[in-house]
Amino acid sequence: MEIKNAMAGTLESGDILIQVEPGKGLQVDLQSSVSAQFGRQIKAVITDTLKGLGVENASIKATDKGALDCTIRARVTAAVVRATGKDVWKD
């Protein structure tokens, strides 16, 4: 699966900005306002969502402002759709 640079989300409170770049393996660089309590969970949600979309090689930069899991999944999915050109909602 070819990955181009893409992003989804915002830096608003309650949201998360996901930036996807080509990479080797899955790398998630997370900055979060709630990292002490939820960093582990947020990374797991991002990684699980990527794997669920079949993404095995990508570098992810995530800037989180306290997003809920549903928001994180939505933003990761949208970023991957933009990065791969493969519309998972339609296909």
């Binding site: 002490a36 309590q37 939820f38």
Partner: protein, 473 residues
């Protein structure tokens, strides 16, 4: 003028007899616009003072320059009601050797009055002052620059400190009456460029919310009040600083008009909302320890029924004449409430100090009905939790918790729960609220607290209530 007390700040400090290791005090009526603390501590540092105890009624974002003075050993101990911004962040990470002592506003007043918190020199900013030291937070000339209204938190300092210096940016002709601080309590008067930026008083905690969730919470809180059994002609009320608790006043107003109910007084931090209700004849008197905005500050300057009180008269536990003992209803906000109704308003869910004790425990304990208004979640941060990060207001003082997912009533107040159910409100178990929050956000990991005590919460009776530990990154 004969006997003028006007001197330079340096001279005032020399005259005061201040020595290393002593206690200096300040009020926080200019909130985020305060200029007195930084000005005075800079001067004390230049004069070579060390090891001072800074006892402020509260501190905020604007006081981050204190970080350097702490590092340089000028300030080695702090007592306050609140801490915010970079100073709070640094202290949470272990900046100070000695823990910060946190007291409520009523608790601070009592501690000063009893001598438990002895003030050697008080530096008190005033909007107007004459050459002998009669001082006020109200404007008294066309040159008035910085207006804060009530000086309630400064009054115990003025009365009980060994030495009092008033700083003002508007020196007016004697006699500056009506006065808040009496010339008889004042040793020196210092004229400065500015004691504070009044436009920043209603910054920090005070917001007039347009957030739809806050409005929903405010409407729910108003329904709780109206159906609580305490909404009767002659009732009294106080609101805290949160957006939802301030907005609740608007909805209570509608019901007061509809039912022909009038309040005898409103207490506490007085806001434009309260002034409006008073001017409409819906609230008889305003008892003001702190004017929260420009409208309140202007009202206290001109309205006989809008009266200043000291923090002792406002919320002391010891003095049975203090106003909280006559208070029916208080609406308060919270950073966290736990399943035992304990409330935290001081330490964020990241373990970093970011708030103020304020009058929260004072009013919650002594009012007939205390209502906490908070959302279930703020982003991913839960507000209803199994156990509060830091205990500020014990659950036995808290009667009702209003969230957007339902209203929880302290089991000790089942009669209130019955009235709310009868009125058709959604009353839920607080454990269910905590479980709901957890179902959305998951289980938070434990915070990385260290072993150093960076703060001690002293309750309004003078006993240690909780400790705050440093946070490690």
């Amino acid at each position: 003028m004969r006997n003028s007390k006007v001197v330079s700040l340096e001279e005032a400090i020399r005259k005061s007899g201040l020595k290393d290791g002593m206690t200096i005090s300040f009020h926080h009526h200019f909130r985020g616009g305060d200029k007195v603390v930084n000005l005075v501590v800079d001067q004390l540092a230049r004069m070579g003072y060390k090891n001072l105890h800074l006892a402020a009624s509260s501190l905020s974002d604007v006081h981050s320059p204190l970080i350097e003075h702490i590092k340089n050993g000028v300030i080695t101990k702090i007592s306050t009601s609140g801490l915010r911004g970079e100073l709070a962040n640094e202290i949470s990470h272990g900046l100070m050797k000695e823990p910060v002592i946190f007291r409520s506003h009523g608790g601070r007043g009592s501690a000063i009055a009893s001598g438990e918190l002895h003030i050697d020199v008080a530096f008190l900013g005033a909007s107007s002052c004459d050459e002998l030291g009669n001082a006020s937070g109200c404007p008294r000339s066309e040159n008035a620059k910085s207006i804060c209204g009530s000086l309630g938190y400064a009054l115990p300092d003025a009365r009980y400190a060994d030495h009092v210096v008033v700083l003002t940016d508007d020196l007016v002709a004697y006699p500056n009456v009506p006065k808040s601080i009496s010339a008889c309590d004042v040793e020196s008067v210092v004229v400065v460029d500015s004691v504070g930026d009044s436009s920043k008083i209603s910054s920090g905690a005070i917001r007039d919310s347009k957030n739809p969730r806050d409005i929903l919470l405010a409407k729910q809180a108003a329904k709780v009040i109206i159906n609580s059994g305490y909404f009767k002609d002659g009732f009294s009320i106080q609101t805290g600083t949160g957006g939802a608790s301030l907005a609740a006043v608007k909805y209570i107003r509608e019901s007061m008009i509809e039912k022909g109910i009038k309040a005898s007084f409103a207490l506490g931090g007085i806001t434009a909302h309260m002034v409006k209700l008073h001017q409409e004849g819906l609230i008889g008197k305003l008892i003001d320890v702190q004017s929260f905005d420009k409208v309140a500050a202007e009202s206290i300057a001109s309205d006989q029924d809008h009266q200043e009180v000291s923090s002792v008269e406002y919320a002391s536990a010891e003095h049975k004449g203090s106003a909280v003992h006559a208070l029916d209803i208080v609406i308060l906000s919270a950073l966290e409430v736990d399943v035992n109704f304990n409330v935290n308003v001081l330490v964020g869910s990241d373990g970093i100090i970011r708030g103020a004790v304020g009058g929260h425990p004072d009013t919650a304990e002594d009012s007939a009905l205390s209502i906490i208004v908070c959302p279930l979640l703020r982003g991913r941060i839960p507000c209803v939790v199994p156990k509060v990060t830091t205990l500020i207001t014990p659950g036995k003082s808290v009667d009702v918790v209003v969230t957007e997912y339902g209203i929880a009533v302290n089991p000790a107040r089942h009669e209130i729960a019955e009235r709310l159910v009868e009125a058709g409100l959604k009353v839920v178990d607080i454990n269910d609220l905590a479980a709901k929050a957890k179902s959305i956000i998951g289980e938070p990991d434990a915070l990385p607290f260290g072993n150093k005590v960076v703060g001690i919460v002293v309750d309004r009776h003078g006993d240690v209530l909780d400790e705050i530990r440093n946070i490690e990154d």
